[in-house]
């Protein structure tokens, strides 16, 4: 049957959707094998696929679907209980169908794949436990053949040729090749009496063909194959006796136990499909994109009218322009919504992925999801699909332990993978957590050292949290053995890069033995981003807010004095750290027109690095619609795209990473020593504090910009000079201050150890070393001192990480140690 392409295409789209549904259903069924509604749905789906490909003449696909249908038919009737083996076989079937569909899509042909193994397996499973005597006599060929023949017999009905119909209705053609004569005889025997017997419950004699089938099923499970083969006949009689058949048909599906295989699905498919068609329309994505463009254009026109209208006294014009404003906004919102897809469209694959992986690694894992209906722009959905899949695979492969290990650790044998999505602050948050073994910092350290990713002395001083973050380094993989599932050395770094590419962030928290949580924050849409508009050389450029840290404006003396030269490279001291400066005008090779005596810096972050971009002026912040650059300009790495401004002119969008690379800022090299404790984002109102422990209880916070270096020195190197503990450090003599003693020694002192953890602080051009217990963490916090200082050397106390923490006043502390001056 030669059908025009669009119909086949529709069949493919529909079938793919159905198959995705199947994946989910099967996995769900494993949890609850008896769920009649799901069993019914699975059966109907396979049946629909089978029926439709019969219609298109895809015989091979049909034959494969058919054996699956037979098996499902018996599962649904409760004759066989779904077990992992059956589920695996059925999932394999889904994959095969998917494969064939893909081939049909690309070549229009079914291909010549050989599926006899799968057919044999399915047939064997279908003849399952109820037929102990039959399996022995060469099950494979004997069963496979009838299935194929049955399939061809069934392929005929949809053509609605009366002659063929009658043969299909006749049970003989399907039964004869199926089983030895004795059996077919047996089969026919009970059928006849049934046909004859009028049943009291169902008075309509026209339904006779269905009834025997339904009755037969529980009694003679062995003939499942031929049964469902015979079953298509009842609906086929419909044209002959239309009135009668229409009435019983809708009645048949409700009883889930009823067999009436093809009848159920055939009719049951009707009403829901119709309902779906009533409320949903398939729309080509290209059309949506075009609509989006047009709406963008309308918004611009609206903006122009809004600028123009107030200049006129005409009340009518004003009113109309207001109305236009409202309608346009609503239209824009509506069109944006059409491009939104629930994140569930990617998540739905995960139960299947997890199931397959888990059974491959011999693990038991339950997938839980919250917020599947959280919506994202489809471009984002596309972009996060692979990273998310990777994270999920990682959790299954590396995160969750085998049942034996879990039980030994006092956890339930079944691991739990929890996916959560929610909207917050104009962003979408996705959390993927498992209750597995967590990331072990010591292992990470060892691995990072062995791979040469960090320096040994740095590794010693890193906090657990910092160590955990190392798994995002390129070339890192903690799996003991490289498996074929994950752990190929490309991994979390790719996830991180991909998420950051779309303006998102990734954060990992892990507790050894308890589990790991990966938090991803991504913008709602890529098409519209908030951006800062800057000017340079008379042109406007847009900088996405996601990479923007702060703006600095230097006037007069400041402009002259604060921009210093580091061997010719301009730098600026931003709260004690040297910030490399890059001139946008120089990078773009355009003539700048800065305001006289003013330097405007845009502090940007690219690839964990900060730099200051010198621009002529700051214009405004705006929501911009991102449009890709044409082919002729795509090689320009400094630009991420273009946008149309409110006045209708085009502005280029800077690619911050590209700018950083062009300027040589974002080259991979180890961080400068002054930032050893982690470079955190230096937000204007936030401060990075180094958290240290004194003894077992007390915690101190030291402003990180006071910290020059962290050092570990042997206790033996401490010497005395002028009644003061000192040690030699890079040719200098550094006074050694024991913070615990200086602050009055509340609580137990740090234990005496062979090595001392010291923090080298800088104050007034001098260095001093503070001896502390240990380095805990570096945190970025908004410093709210909740208790005034009663003791000298402290600014006060605050709460950091849910612990009361004393904040050190470095100058005061040094003065305390030596009132005359260090």
């Amino acid at each position: 049957m030669t059908e025009p392409d669009p119909i086949v295409k529709e069949f493919l789209v529909e079938s793919y959707e159905n198959l995705d549904q199947l994946d989910r259903d099967f996995v769900a069924l494993e949890q609850n094998p008896q769920d009649p509604a799901r069993l019914g749905s699975v059966f109907r789906t396979i049946h629909t696929v089978k029926g439709t490909c019969g219609f298109f003449g895809f015989g091979k696909l049909e034959s494969v679907a058919h054996v699956g249908e037979n098996l499902l038919c018996r599962v649904r009737d409760g004759e066989i209980v779904l077990n992992p083996e059956i589920t695996t076989a059925l999932l394999a079937l889904v994959d095969v169908i998917r494969g064939i569909l893909a081939r049909i899509e690309s070549t229009g042909e079914e291909g010549d794949g050989d599926y006899s193994d799968l057919i044999a397996t399915l047939t064997r499973l279908a003849s399952g436990p109820v037929t102990p005597p039959t399996p022995q006599p060469s099950p494979t060929p004997a069963h496979a053949d009838p299935a194929l023949e049955v399939a061809t017999a069934e392929a005929i009905p949809p053509q609605t040729d009366p002659a063929e119909e009658s043969t299909a209705t006749d049970p003989d053609p399907t039964q004869i090749p199926n089983k030895p004569p004795a059996k077919s005889a047996r089969k026919r025997a009970p059928k006849k009496p049934k046909l004859a017997t009028p049943e009291s419950t169902e008075a309509d004699p026209l339904r006779a063909p269905t009834r025997p089938a339904r009755k037969r099923a529980p009694k003679k499970p062995t003939i499942a194959a031929s049964e469902s083969a015979a079953l298509p006949s009842p609906p086929l009689s419909a044209p002959k006796a239309p009135a009668e058949c229409l009435v019983p048909a809708p009645k048949t599906p409700p009883p889930p136990d009823a067999l009436s295989a093809p009848k159920g699905p055939a009719t049951a498919d009707g009403p829901p499909a119709a309902a779906l068609a009533d409320s949903n329309v398939r729309v080509d994505v290209g059309l949506l994109d075009k609509l989006m463009n047009l709406v963008g254009e309308l918004v611009l026109a609206r903006n122009q009218i809004l600028q123009y209208a107030p200049g006129h006294k005409d009340a009518g014009l004003l009113r109309t322009s207001q109305r236009l404003n409202l309608i346009t906004s609503e239209l824009q919102e509506g069109v944006m919504k059409t491009r939104m897809q629930p994140i569930g469209t990617i998540w739905n694959r995960f139960p299947r992925v997890v199931r397959d992986l888990a059974s491959m690694c011999g693990k038991q894992i339950r997938v839980e999801m919250d917020g599947q209906d959280t919506e994202l722009d489809r471009t984002i959905i596309e972009a996060i699909k692979d990273p998310l899949t990777h994270v999920v695979r990682n959790s299954v492969d590396h995160g969750i332990e085998t049942p034996a290990v879990r039980v030994a650790a006092g956890k339930p044998a079944e691991g739990r993978l929890h996916l959560r999505a929610f909207h917050e602050g104009g962003q979408v948050n996705i959390e993927i957590s498992d209750d597995g073994g967590g990331v072990r910092p010591d292992k990470v350290r060892a691995k990072a050292l062995s791979r040469g990713l960090i320096e040994p002395d740095r590794a010693e001083r890193m906090t657990d949290k910092e160590l955990t973050q190392l798994i995002f380094l390129p070339g890192f993989s903690t799996a003991e053995t490289v498996s074929n599932i994950s752990g190929r050395g490309v991994g979390m770094d790719v996830v991180k890069t991909n998420i950051e590419k779309i303006g998102g962030t990734v954060d990992l928290t892990s507790q050894v033995g308890i589990g790991t949580t990966l938090k991803i924050k991504i913008p709602l849409t890529l098409a519209i981003v908030p951006a800062l508009i800057v000017t340079c050389g008379g042109d406007r450029y847009a900088i996405p807010q996601s990479s923007l840290l702060e703006l600095v404006r230097l006037d007069g003396d400041q402009a002259r004095g604060r921009v210093e030269s580091f061997q010719g490279a301009p730098v600026y001291r931003l709260r004690g750290n040297l910030l490399p400066l890059v001139s946008l005008g120089e990078l773009l090779r355009v003539d700048t027109q800065p305001h006289e005596g003013v330097v405007t810096l845009v502090v940007l972050r690219a690839d964990d690095r900060q730099f200051g971009l010198i621009v002529d002026g700051i214009h405004d912040t705006e929501e911009i619609v991102v449009k890709p650059l044409g082919k002729l300009l795509q090689h320009l790495s400094m630009f991420a795209g273009s946008t149309i401004m409110g006045d209708g002119r085009v502005a280029l969008i800077l690619d911050v990473l590209g700018v950083a690379q062009q300027a040589g800022v974002a080259v991979t090299q180890s961080r400068p020593a002054t930032n050893v404790a982690t470079t955190k984002d230096d937000h204007a109102d936030r401060q990075t504090m180094l958290l240290v422990g004194l003894g077992s209880e007390r915690r101190l916070a030291i402003p990180l910009d006071r910290v020059a270096r962290l050092e570990v020195i042997p206790a033996a190197e401490v010497e005395w000079a002028d009644g003061q503990e000192v040690f030699r450090y890079r040719g200098e003599i550094l006074p050694l201050l024991r913070v615990h003693d200086l602050l009055g020694g509340v609580g137990e002192p740090p234990p005496h150890a062979d090595v001392l953890q010291v923090i080298v602080v800088a104050e007034g051009g001098h260095l001093a070393a503070l001896v502390v217990g240990r380095i805990l963490d570096a945190v970025e916090t908004t410093l709210v001192v909740s208790r005034g200082s009663r003791r000298s050397g402290l600014i006060g106390s605050t709460v950091i990480q849910d612990r009361v923490t004393d904040v050190v006043d470095v100058p005061a502390l040094l003065e305390l140690a030596d009132p005359i001056g260090v």
Partner: protein
């Protein structure tokens, strides 16, 4: 059928050029452009064509002809392409003309340089030659 032989014509430095009508999306008058730093010199900028951002290629520069006088604004011949639209900046727009296939000639061997690469040939019109641009080649800018 006849569309195949229809050409959108324009002038450039006194020369008469044509591109196949089916490649042309539209012809628009001069539009304000946003320059693109670091782009090839032939790319004069980006224009906003009713919400569609179009790259404008200066055909004079592309053909190795001298720049037009600063006070003369070019016209846009917007070409339809698979990956969006691209505009050719030309001096003036002429008519859409139908040509006789028999009047076509390959470029003479003596024609050398960039111009030769970008010309498919010429139609011998009654009073002049219509130079036929190979739009693929014209837009195959190498950065």
């Amino acid at each position: 059928m006849s569309e195949l032989n229809q050409y959108c014509t324009f002038t450039l430095d006194g020369l008469h050029f044509g591109v196949e009508v089916r490649h042309v999306q539209e012809v628009v008058r001069y539009q304000e452009m946003t320059r693109v730093p670091l782009a090839p010199t032939e790319v004069r900028g980006l224009i906003n064509l009713r919400g569609q951002i179009v790259t404008a290629v200066d055909l004079r520069r592309r053909m190795g002809l001298p720049d037009r006088a600063a006070d003369r604004n070019p016209m846009n011949v917007v070409l339809r392409r698979d990956d969006g639209a691209t505009s050719l900046l030309v001096d003036a727009i002429g008519d859409v003309i139908e040509v006789d296939e028999g009047a076509f000639e390959r470029p003479p061997e003596t024609l050398q340089g960039t111009a030769r690469e970008m010309l498919r040939g010429a139609y011998k019109l009654r009073d002049r030659l219509l130079l036929v641009l190979d739009t693929e080649k014209v837009l195959a800018l190498t950065p």
